[in-house]
């Protein structure tokens, strides 16, 4: 009831000035058109502070189809949470700069009226937050919190909504669901609360689910239960899911594709197996190496990444990882590497990648520059690069 109608009220090709996306149609795109959920292009999100603009998200592009899971991995301050909130439009209006394009089912969300975006929340896209205690309303009964969205978005009467809430609670594995509906969040454990959060998020049958560190506040045994639940729901409901986490272990077995973020940018993006097997970006490599391994004997020396992430008010001018990178050379400190896709579906932002040759990177970058000079839509780096590879969202 929301999808096509809502799309009709927006013209998908509107009069937005930077219409780079529609300028690069791929022949195969029509096949995937119905599966494609969201297209984010060159999204930038900054916070105005007394010190200057904090560029939390700085030119991120990604796509997601129904039924697929994208993992976004990064350390704190890498912009992964701001990215997911910015896509959804869940950021304050004041002192926030948000540029770029977010196409959801043909709707442009950046700059869309609040009411339009609000109609999508819950009904089309939903988010599961990290801390289930603070993101549930402590003074509302659980039943009310689950049915609220269904009554508002789907116009359900109370009886139907209550009935649905009950079956949702069963679905997410809550024992004694009838009793739980009348309880308050504080009466439940952390794991139970996170299940309630999932029930709230699923209530209106969203097509796109954001899970922002959904298990970070939970114990490992409960984490495994919640991750399994999310995965099952995602499959059964054929949703697109964006799983945001700092833990590479969480995304390894449960995503189709992973984007690694560093200092507000995607530094590497690839199919999950490719990312782990054929790491290209030194940061991803360093991140993988710094995790203590269960297989290594105890007291083995860990490979720490020296230094710390850069200040996002004044990020390093060229490659943002260069100050901490073991392979950094002069070029890295002089010229920012573009996000290049040497192999289809595997993009990275590095002049001297772990596996590919620097010459190949150089050649691809030159080609990209030439394409940009020739093209009329200057400045849309990511879009142009994606146009070179094909159908990166697919298998």
């Amino acid at each position: 009831m929301s999808g096509p109608n809502a799309a009709g009220s927006f013209s998908p090709d509107g009069e937005r000035p930077n219409n780079g996306v529609s300028g690069t149609p791929l022949p195969r795109e029509h096949e995937t058109q119905t599966r494609r959920l969201i297209e984010v292009d060159d999204l930038r999100t900054g916070f105005k502070t007394a010190r200057g603009l904090v560029r939390a998200v700085d030119g991120v592009s990604l796509t997601l189809d129904r039924g697929r899971t994208l993992g976004i991995v990064g350390e704190s301050g890498s912009g992964k949470t701001v990215l997911s909130r910015s896509i959804m439009g869940l950021l304050p209006k004041r002192n926030v700069v948000r540029e770029g394009t977010v196409h959801y089912n043909g709707l442009e969300l950046v700059g869309a009226p609040d009411a339009k975006v609000r109609d999508l929340w819950g009904a089309e896209m939903a988010m599961i937050f990290q801390d289930p205690m603070t993101s549930l309303n402590p003074v509302l009964k659980i039943g009310k919190q689950i049915t609220e969205g269904m009554r508002f978005h789907l116009g359900m009467d109370r009886q139907t909504a209550d009935k649905n809430a009950l079956s949702l609670l069963r679905e997410v594995g809550i024992p004694e669901p009838e009793r739980r509906l009348k309880q308050y969040p504080h009466e439940l454990s952390g794991g139970m609360r996170q299940r309630i959060m999932i029930a709230v998020a699923l209530a209106c049958g969203p097509k796109l689910l954001f899970a922002d560190e959904p298990t970070t506040a939970l114990d490992v045994t409960v984490q495994a239960q919640i991750l399994n639940l999310l995965q099952r729901e995602q499959r059964e409901r054929d949703m697109g899911m964006i799983l945001v986490t700092h833990d590479l272990g969480v995304v390894a077995g449960r995503t189709d594709e992973i984007a690694v973020m560093y200092a507000g940018q995607v530094v590497e993006k690839a199919a999950t197996a490719t990312l782990f097997r054929h790491v290209q970006h030194p940061y991803t490599e360093a991140l993988l190496r710094s995790i203590p391994s269960m297989d290594a004997p105890s007291h083995s020396r860990l490979q720490a990444i020296p230094g710390r992430p850069p200040d996002l008010v004044n990020p390093p001018p060229a490659c943002r990882f260069a100050p901490r990178c073991p392979y950094a050379r002069d070029k890295c400190r002089q010229e920012a590497p573009p996000l290049l896709e040497l192999e289809p579906g595997h993009a990275f932002r590095c002049w001297f990648p772990v596996r590919a040759s620097a010459d190949a990177v150089e050649a691809a970058a030159a080609e990209l520059r030439a394409g940009q000079d020739a093209g009329t839509d200057g400045g849309e780096t990511q879009v142009a690069v994606r146009g070179d590879g094909e159908n990166e969202g697919g298998d």
């Binding site: 114990d219 239960q225 991750l227 272990g249 077995g253 782990f276």
Partner: protein, 346 residues
């Protein structure tokens, strides 16, 4: 409140710290919270003991009860041959300089209004160790040892540092009184993985340099494995299993340890997560813990005996102890029945 035994303890004269039958209970309106119910542990000089378990298992309470904050409800804490539970006032405080604590949240455990030099010098001022020049010298040396530049760091306040740097300052503060035992309570859980590795490496370096003995409390099994010589797994205020890390992780004998290990997400896409989670349900309430074995309500192998009889700690392999009636034997590796003797150091 029956203890789960002391079979895993070694000769008292060898141990730097020996905790026997530690009990910590908190009275509440709804009854007593059984936070720690008869934990025994010991640490040899230079050893690192890892305490693992999920939240609510009593690992932090155990760490705090060792330094008598709060006072344990029962049991003894022998540190360097002295029972801390019998000390009080100045004698206890003086003893505590040898026992230092590092907390989880590095930022909130430092006073935001004070400069680093004052934070580090305060313990020496309290105990009147040397004059101002000596204190400044120690502060500089210690900052240098934890990898901070004394010239830039000394006159700054905690908010001017990152989380990792604040944790370095906390560690430096713990070191200025020249402790012999450092209790680290989740020292890296608030840090990013890249910084976590820096701090873990630093702790290993400092341990060698200052001849430290460590109690390392954490929920992350991989982290604990990396730093420990001996690992103790706890569940709901009880000991489940004690073993050298390489052995514990390869052949866990307690069903809980095994479930914990299987729950950890592996950073390898080839390893598909199990469809069935290793452990169903959640931790029972410590207000009313299950009878017999406390893990029995979630244990896949639980039988009638587990509800009636509390399992005692017993040896199932070299340096490997478990409190379970039906331990996993994992092939032929672990001999089942048991003769109890003081095990050799790990």
């Amino acid at each position: 409140m029956a203890g789960t035994g002391t079979a895993h303890l070694r000769a008292p004269e060898d141990a730097l710290l020996r905790v026997e039958d530690l009990v910590v209970e908190f009275p509440t309106r709804n009854g007593k919270v059984h936070a720690v119910s008869g934990i025994s542990l010991d640490i040899l000089p230079g050893e690192t003991l890892g305490l693992v378990g999920e939240s609510g298992c009593g690992k932090s309470t155990t760490g705090r009860a060792i330094i008598q904050l709060p006072r344990p409800t029962g049991g003894s804490v022998q540190f360097e041959g002295v029972d801390l539970t019998r000390l009080s006032g100045k004698a206890l405080r003086h003893r505590r300089t040898k026992l230092q604590f590092i907390f989880q949240d590095p930022i909130s455990s430092l006073n935001p209004r004070r400069r680093v030099r004052d934070i580090l010098a305060e313990p020496m001022r309290i105990w009147k160790r040397g004059d101002k020049d000596h204190q400044e010298k120690v502060v500089r040396e210690t900052l240098d040892a934890v990898g901070l530049d004394p010239d830039t760091a000394m006159d700054r306040r905690p908010h001017q540092f990152s989380g990792g740097q604040c944790q370095r300052i906390s560690i430096a503060r713990a070191l200025v009184t020249e402790p012999s035992l450092l209790i680290c309570d989740e020292p890296v859980s608030a840090l990013d993985v890249s910084v976590q590795a820096q701090i873990l490496n630093l702790l290993e370096d400092l341990k060698a340099r200052y001849g430290l003995t460590l109690v390392f409390i954490a929920h992350d099994l991989a982290v604990v494995k990396n730093v420990s010589d001996r690992v103790m797994v706890m569940y709901l205020g009880k000991v489940c299993e004690v073993a050298p890390p390489d052995r514990l992780y390869k052949q866990p004998a307690h069903p809980y340890t095994s479930a914990l290990l299987r729950s950890i997400p592996v950073p390898d896409p080839a390893v598909r997560p199990q469809e069935q989670p290793a452990l169903e349900g959640e931790l029972p309430s410590p207000l009313d813990p299950p009878s017999g074995c406390r893990f029995r309500t979630r244990c896949p192998l639980a039988q009638e005996r587990c509800a009636t009889e509390e399992p005692q700690v017993r040896e199932v392999g070299p340096g490997h102890y478990v409190a379970c009636h039906f331990p996993l034997s994992s092939g032929a590796a672990a001999p089942q029945p048991v003769e109890v003797h003081a095990g050799q150091p790990a």
